[in-house]
Structures are given as C-alpha cells and as structure tokens.
Symmetry: C2
Subunit: 582 residues, 2 copies
C-alpha cells in the first residue's frame, strides 16, 4: 500500500508514530506560519499540519500550492492536537507533515464536495463520480452493502441456496414491456432481459432446489416516473413444500433481522391485514400504519338529512385528524383544494371541528343539527380539539381520495417520522383485476399466483371475487415486497391462462417450458421478491431510490455521465440484421 | 412446512418419532408383502417402508401405483432398519408409512434421474429442470454457492465494499463485440451490456471507494467455442493506493483462503513467473505447472551437424518425458501425427530414447553421433528410461506447438491430476501486441493498463517491448483471473489511446467520461477480475463451465429449454424504432 494508515484510523495511541497517509484534500486553512489540511478518504478525515518552525520551507510552499481534491501522499509524525475536535474520531491528533507528494492534481470540481453541496441534480448526475465522494452519498452505498450482506447472512443461515438465473432470456408480452437484445447468431430473433426471474425460480423448485434466493438485477422498459429505474435490484426467493404461513414467517424473520442488525431496532411480530380491510380502513393496499387515523364509514350516520351530496353518495367516509381543530379557514380551504386536484378528484371536502367546549362546528351545519353532529363525533370517537374530514362519492374513488388526504394530514401533523418503522403484511389479495380498457381480467400479481382453494369454485362465474394466496409486505406506506403461493398443477395453470385471455397456443409459445415442467413432478411452492433499492432507501430514511444506486439513470432512461444510450455504427446494425426505421 | 423433516435429516436417534416427509420418488422396490420407496429431496434420500402386515391395504395399493418422480407426502414412524446401509447418512433408519398423499404426478422423465444418466447432452439441456435434479449437477451448484459465499466473506473481511454497477451502459467498439439493447425512449440509440464493469470500477476509485468488489454478470457477443458462454460471471475487484505487490498479496490470499475453506487444501505462497519465462519454458502464458517437463533450448547443442531442419531453424527446443522411453514406434508415430495436425502445425517430431544401459537411440542417428546424443541427454538432465521430444522451426510457432505436445504428454503420463492444484502468478506481460491484420498495436489486456514506469521511454520507438504492470492468475494451465495497475494520469491515458490508433475524437466519444474523471483527482489504482464460472469448474474438477451454470446456453447462444432467442412482434419492433433487414 502507498499508505500505512487510512484517514479514519489514527488515534491518540498512535502519537509519536511515523505514518504515511493518502487521500484527497478536503480543505486547506492557511494561517501564515501554520497551515492545516483536512485529508479525506473513504474511512474518514485526518488533519495534516504544516508548521513554519518545523517543516521545510519547500514542503510548506508545496502544501500551500495544493487545491481542493488534489490526491496527495503525506509522510509525517502523529502528534496530539492542541485544540481537540471531539466531533471526529481522529479529532485528538494531527499529522505533522515532513514530506509531501502530489499523486494527482485536480481541477476545481463543478460543485462542493461537502455534505451540503451547491450542485444541482443534473450537474451531480453528470459528475456522479464526484457526487459519490460526498459522505452522505457514500454512506448510502455503504448501507446498501451492509443490507446486502445481512440479507445473505440470514438466507444462508436458513439453507437458501443462491443460484444465478440467466439475463438473456425470452420475451413474454404479458406484464410490463421487455428490453430486448437482437441476436447476431440467430437472425431475426431477440433475447429479452428479465423483468424478474419468476419462471426460472419456479423451475428451480421443480428441480428440487427447495430454497432459492438471488439478489438480482431486473429490467422493465416502462415510462419512468420519478423514482423508477429501468434496471433495479430484487431480493428474489422461492421455497418448496411450504404454506403461505411458512413464507410469511420466514420473511417476517428477514425483515425483523434486518431492522435489528442494521438499525438496532427490535421489532415484535408483524401485524397482518386483509386486502379488504386495507381498502376499507385506509383506502390503499399499502397503508401507512405509523399513525392510526382509520377511515370511518358514515352512511348510516349522515344519510337522510337532506344533504344531497351525502344522500346520493355510494360512500360517505371520513377521518379524524386528532388535535387539528385549530386549523384555520385558510388551511381548510387548502385541504379542499388538495382533494379537488385532478389527480385526487374529490368534488369537495366536508369538515367538522370539535371545539374545546364539546360543541361541534361543521361546514354543513345547514343540514345537520348539533345532535346530528354529536352522532358524527361518536362515530369518530372524537374528542375536543379533533378535526373530522369527510369525503363522499363512488366507493373506490372516494377511498382513494381519502387515502391521499389521510397521508397528507399525517404529514402535516408530523405523524410520518422517517425514523419510525411500521411494517405489516397485507394478505388475501384478489386474484384478478378487471381491466376496463381491454375488457378482460388481468392477474393482480402475475399469472402463476395460486387462488385460495376454497375460492376456486368461483372461477367460472365470479372470477373477480376469487382471493389469491398472495401477500405484500408494506413498510410506512411503501410496498417493499410481495409474493404468492404458486400454481403447481398444470391443468389449473392452463385454466388460469385461459381466464386471462391467453389462447392455448399463446400460453404454450410463451410458457410452454413451465407447463411442460409441471408434468414431471412439480412440488407445491411459493415465494416472494423484495425491491432492494426501495428497501435500502427506506432503511436510509430517504424517499428516493436513486440516492441508493451508484450510477442511476434519469427519467429518460439516460445515464448522463457516460452518455448512454448512444448511436451505434452501421456495421453493428448490419451484424445484428436490423436497421433503424425512419 | 408440509414436512416435519427433510429427506437427509433422520438418524437412529429419531427412531420412534412420528414424521412427515415430502419429496420425489427416486426408486420403488416391490417384494410382494413389502414395498420400499427411496424418497429424495435436496438434502438426501430416506427409505420409506410399506408392510402388508402393518400398513392399510389402500396405502400399500397407493404406494404401488406411484411412478418415478411423483411428488408425495408420507406420514409415518421412524424405525431402525434391519439391514442398514452405511453408504447413506440416513441408512440406519426407514419410515414405516401410515399415510400417503400424492402432491403431484409425474410423467416418465425422458432420461434417468440418477448420478449416471442415459440422457444425451441435448436432451438434458432441453429438460434442464430435470437434469438439475441429479445429485452431481446439484452438487456443482451447491459448490458454486459455497464459493460465492466464501469469496464474499474474504472480501468483506478485507473491507471491500460491494457496489452494483449498471447493466445498461454504452457500446464501445474496443475489445470484443457488445450485445446491444435498442432504447424505446431514445429513438436510434442503444444501450450495451457490459463486457466488464471496467470503467465503472475505475470511476469508483476516482470516487474514493478505495476497495470495491462485485460478483457480476458480464456479456460478450462472440462466436462461441466450446465452453464459452455469452453471459458469464466475474469476481470483479479494484483497489486504490496500491502497488502491484499489494494486489498479488490480497488475491493470492483469496485463492489460498478458497482452497482452504472449500477444498480443505492448505497452500503456501504462490510461485510467480514472468511472461517471458512462461513463454520460454512452457510456450504458454498459462503454464500448467502441476508437472515440470520444462522446455530445453538446444540451438547450441544441435546445430552444425548437417541436419538441415535443425540448422535452419530459428529455435530447436524439446522436453524430457521422464520414464517414457518405453513408448512404442506406434505411439511415437501418433505423437508425430499429433504435432503435425493443422491446429498445431509442426513439420515433424524428433525423438531420442535413453535406454536402460545409458545408450541413446534417436530418430536422427544419421546426423548425430552417440557422443552428440550424450550432449543432448546432458542438456535435458536425462536419465535412463527418459524420452526426449524435440521440435524445431520459427521461435513462437515452435514454442506454441511444444506447449501442446507437453500438455499431451502430461496427460498421457498421468501428470495432470484434477485433484492436484498448482496456481501461479504470471507477471510482466507485454503492454501491447502487434496485430498483423490491422497493422496496429492492440492492448494485450485493455487500454487502461499501466506500463511499467521504467519502460515508458520505449513508448515512441519500441512500444512492443514495453512491459505492463499486468498479471494473470493461472491454475492448472487455466487462466482464472487477470488484472493490472491502471493508468490514472489523463495525459498518459490519452497517449495510450493514440498509440492504440484512436483519434482524439474517438477516444473522447467512447471514454470521455473517464478521461474527464481523471482531471478531478484520480488516485493510483489497480484491480483484478476472476472468471467465476471457470474457477468453480476448476474447484469442482471439471473441464466444462456449463456444468456449473444453472441454465447455460448452447454453442449457438440458444437456451434450448425456454427456446430463446425468439422472434418478437412487429409492434415491439415498431416501438423500438427498428425493423429487420432482409
């Protein structure tokens, strides 16, 4: 090594030692006779000292000539600092430098390499290699490494075997859009990049691998919303001879283990909620249960008093924002504007304040007597100081809108602390989802999900009511993972494809290998996949997965640092038997 | 779980317990009143027993109806076996079955699911999910998992941080051919799949990550020779502030750690050999040093005796095949045919036998006196019973041919035991290689490799003589890894691109981001990458990397199981702005 120690290593015990440090010039303070440099590497910062009375004049001059981010090698003796800095682990010492070597010069970076930087998003992405020097960004990737290691420790300990599945696979139109790769050796044919190793992990179960995992890159060519990446990483798992209960138990164990190891948070057993309850009480299949504020349905309380909006509504439903009775008229108007935004689409907001004296003041006093409002308050279990917020309309749409309002109120009332973690399982998802556009059913998870045996009889007549052996793990309102017990019976799988509108030929063209495999002794099996980028960002307390990816792409799927994608040569196109369409 | 125990778990201590096992029917032996089934899962095989005198008649009938590879669940009591089988860990017990459930039926597999199978390569690849059930194949993938875990343990312990680099990157014509991915969102542009994360890991060094690793899929669209895969896995590493010595030390440590942990083989420090010596003594930059049989150059011994073939040759060079003097005329003729094959291309083979009485009989006795031949024998340090094999011709070609002959003799004499491991470092590779076809220099490793500082002065006049700070790890004649100290100076990197025939524009179009990064404080750095598939096959004692890949592709780059690549729809082509060229 060019160094004897890292910049995070020296302590008071090292005083007197001759050391060699290497790193980047973080900061330079020149006080005339004395000069200090903060030298930085991955492990920390150590202060270098240059003293007119001791250092050779040329070394001092050399130090003075250094710029920010120069890479240097400094040889010197560790001494105790006169004014210690207890905010840094190396703060008790400094290195009195006798010899200095510039290993590489540096132009002035386009933004500050500090925890708080002056660089905008675009600039930092273009110079991602400089952004990655900043401690908060590096800490994110260190967290990611740690998470990866602990996930592997847990799964290795539970006898999972890591198997790499192929990246160059076959395109299947079901689901999201594939990225494809033209084959040079097979003209006119394409590989696809996997959206997930779903079929391969099921084949591994047919092979008897019993417990499989992989931390694996997956790919989806979707229009990118903020915080979606064309390539992303999954913790992908599958097990044989299990029930849903076994899977929930195993992976609840993983999540609790991670919180324990990585965050030092001890967690009890995780709560579970049916999909039906999640929709009914939170208007979402990924409820944020860091705070309560459950939906209260009011049809039986509010109807028949002459208020047309409520009388005609399929559902009248509200939340109790505890302690928010002090909201001003202006704040309430803003909430009304919030729910009326087109993305949310409510037609209006009704509110009722429970005053300190117990009296209730609503925005619909014209229709509801004080006694009526007492009944409202009772339904909400409201106390003085509470604010009741009520929406009305079609059931699904109103629930969805109230979910948004609930989350907003949670935010405004400080109930969504990023250092508080509230995971839960959402279970009993519907198997199928009716799609108005295509006028057919879609698989809610994917076509390999097993229906609950007791619901199977509904398959012909009321398929929309079948519940699946499917489950999601939700943390703080974010879906971090999901899975299901799979179909392992060929006939049932064929029937499922039929229900989903696949012709027999289509099903076999795309998934024939899996249907065939099911004829040779497929065990009962099931699994789960976690979005690893998302899990890391959640553990790190960030809303952005990009912060946890070393080299992310922007919303147009571009890597602006390397400038990809980019045109390729005509010779390359020719070899691949393709040309551009103009 | 549907089971209480696995099929590899029950021992004599479990006798008397009521257990539930699940698995596949491996074999069924019906002796009339008694019937046994070998039940198999990933963990082992357990014998199930059905006894007319105890089991219910319908259970016996049910057992009798089972076929190979049926998936069943058996409930019963563990009993001690009458005739124990000490070749299997569960051989002391069997399970007397009281209740049986068929979890899935199975068609008769197209080949035997046994250690030795009757299935040909093509059939086993098409039904890879069945091939993977066979114990030897599963053991290969278990070895791979174990290797992966131990690699991570070692590198984690040495403070390496695992960072995932992107899969969708930019096409760079240098090196092998890229797989490319058309971008839907950026019409006319393509991503490329990485041949290695080379530039990204160098950028991570610029970012100060100090020690990076990743076990990562890489891609090369090359014509596939036997045992080359379009997608393969690398252990990819890079370190900052290191010398070549540090890297050799660290990764020699990794290899020794792996041999210790995975094979139980303790290994001392690894030998090193310069590229020049490897070529001179073994005719190869990846010598198999499990056996000696070094090249002996004979120009000074054999020239000037009137044998034109030797007199006119640039190099006369031979090997001593110890103890092979008993080779028959027929065997020697076969060796001559071997070296004259077009792939090897020698014009002939000269041999000399050292008889038991010390006399020497050569195929060129016409030209060489007994005294001459004694001088030959001395050069080879030959003893009675040895066979000397000599080739002559142009230097490089003759060395190459003799390398093949040496390996062949090693094989014939049983000196290449797959359970013996002889790793070494080959160092001091040439930086550049002259390419006759394109009439220009190519980078022997890649364009980022650093020349040895002391050879830099040769860059303008004799670039072919420059040695690089580059190294390969070779085990048993197989290159398992290689790397180099990188260039970290922008000017030197620019000069290197120029020497390699890149125009300034070309260099910047392809590697501008790296050249730019070098201006912002790039530390001295270097690294290495190991071919992980190859390393696994070597540890497993196989010549084929396919055996260590769960779902490999064939020589046409096809996955015959899922039938990929395959045509895609016109709608997909349209979205990607491409069409097929006819």
């Amino acid at each position: 090594m060019l160094r004897t120690h890292t910049c995070g290593e020296l302590r008071i015990d090292n005083v007197g030692e001759e050391v060699i440090l290497t790193g980047w010039v973080q900061r330079l303070r020149d006080k005339g006779g004395m000069l200090w440099i903060d030298l930085r590497d991955r492990y920390g910062i150590t202060q270098l000292a240059f003293d007119e009375s001791i250092s050779l004049p040329q070394v001092l001059a050399q130090a003075r000539s250094l710029g920010r981010e120069y890479v240097i090698k400094a040889i010197g003796r560790v001494i105790e600092r006169e004014s210690k800095n207890d905010r840094m682990p190396t703060g008790d010492i400094e290195v009195r430098v006798g010899k200095l070597e510039v290993l590489n010069e540096a132009k002035l970076p386009p933004f500050l390499i500090e925890d708080e930087t002056d660089g905008g998003d675009d600039l930092r992405m273009k110079y991602r290699y400089l952004d990655l020097r900043r401690a908060p960004v590096r800490h994110n990737l260190e967290l990611r490494h740690r998470m990866m290691r602990e996930v592997r420790n847990y799964l290795d300990h539970h006898y999972f075997i890591e198997v790499e599945t192929p990246v160059l696979i076959k395109s299947t139109p079901e689901g999201a859009r594939d990225f494809v790769v033209p084959s040079r050796m097979n003209p006119g044919e394409f590989y696809a990049l996997p959206q997930s190793p779903q079929t391969f992990k099921q084949l591994l179960m047919v092979s008897g691998f019993d417990k499989y995992y992989q931390i694996v890159k997956c790919f989806r060519d979707e229009d990118l919303r903020a915080d979606r990446q064309p390539e992303f990483t999954q913790i992908d798992c599958e097990l044989s001879f299990v029930t849903q209960e076994d899977i929930l138990h195993t992976f609840e164990g993983l999540i609790r283990y991670l919180f324990e190891k990585v965050k030092g948070i001890h967690m009890g057993p995780l709560p579970r909620m049916t999909y039906a309850d999640a929709m009914r009480f939170y208007g979402s299949d990924k409820p944020d249960i860091r705070f309560d504020m459950r939906f209260v349905e009011l049809n039986h309380v509010v109807k028949g008093k002459g208020f047309k909006v409520f009388d005609e509504a399929e559902l009248v439903v509200g939340i109790n924002a505890r302690g928010a009775a002090g909201y001003t008229r202006k704040q309430l108007d803003e909430l009304t504007d919030f729910v009326k935004r087109p993305q949310i689409g409510a037609t209006g907001l009704v509110y009722a304040r429970v005053n300190e004296d117990g009296s209730i003041k609503s925005s619909v006093d014209k229709f509801y007597s004080p006694e009526d409002l007492v009944a409202w308050a009772a339904a909400f279990d409201a106390r003085p100081g509470d604010l009741l917020l009520v929406l009305a309309g079609g059931r699904d749409k109103t629930r969805k809108a109230l979910n948004e309002l609930r989350l907003e109120m949670g935010k405004q009332l400080g109930l969504r602390d990023k250092d508080v973690f509230a995971p839960l399982w959402v279970v009993d998802f519907p198997l199928l989802e009716w799609d108005e556009d295509t006028q057919r059913y879609h698989a809610m998870h994917h076509p390999f999900t097993s229906p609950k045996p007791e619901d199977l009889e509904l398959l012909d007549d009321r398929p929309g009511e079948i519940r699946a052996n499917a489950y999601d793990m939700v943390i703080n309102g974010v879906e971090v993972g999901g899975g299901s017990i799979r179909i392992h019976d060929r006939r049932l799988q064929e029937q499922m494809f039929k229900t989903l509108g696949f012709s027999r030929d289509e099903a076999y063209a795309q998934f024939g290998f899996l249907l065939n495999a099911f004829e040779y002794g497929a065990p009962p099996h099931g699994g789960i996949a976690f979005g690893f980028d998302r899990l890391c960002s959640l553990f790190g307390g960030s809303e952005s997965i990009r912060d946890y990816i070393a080299f992310p792409k922007n919303n147009s799927g571009r890597d602006v640092m390397i400038d990809a994608p980019s045109p390729i040569s005509n010779a390359q196109l020719d070899e691949l038997h393709i040309r551009m369409r103009h």
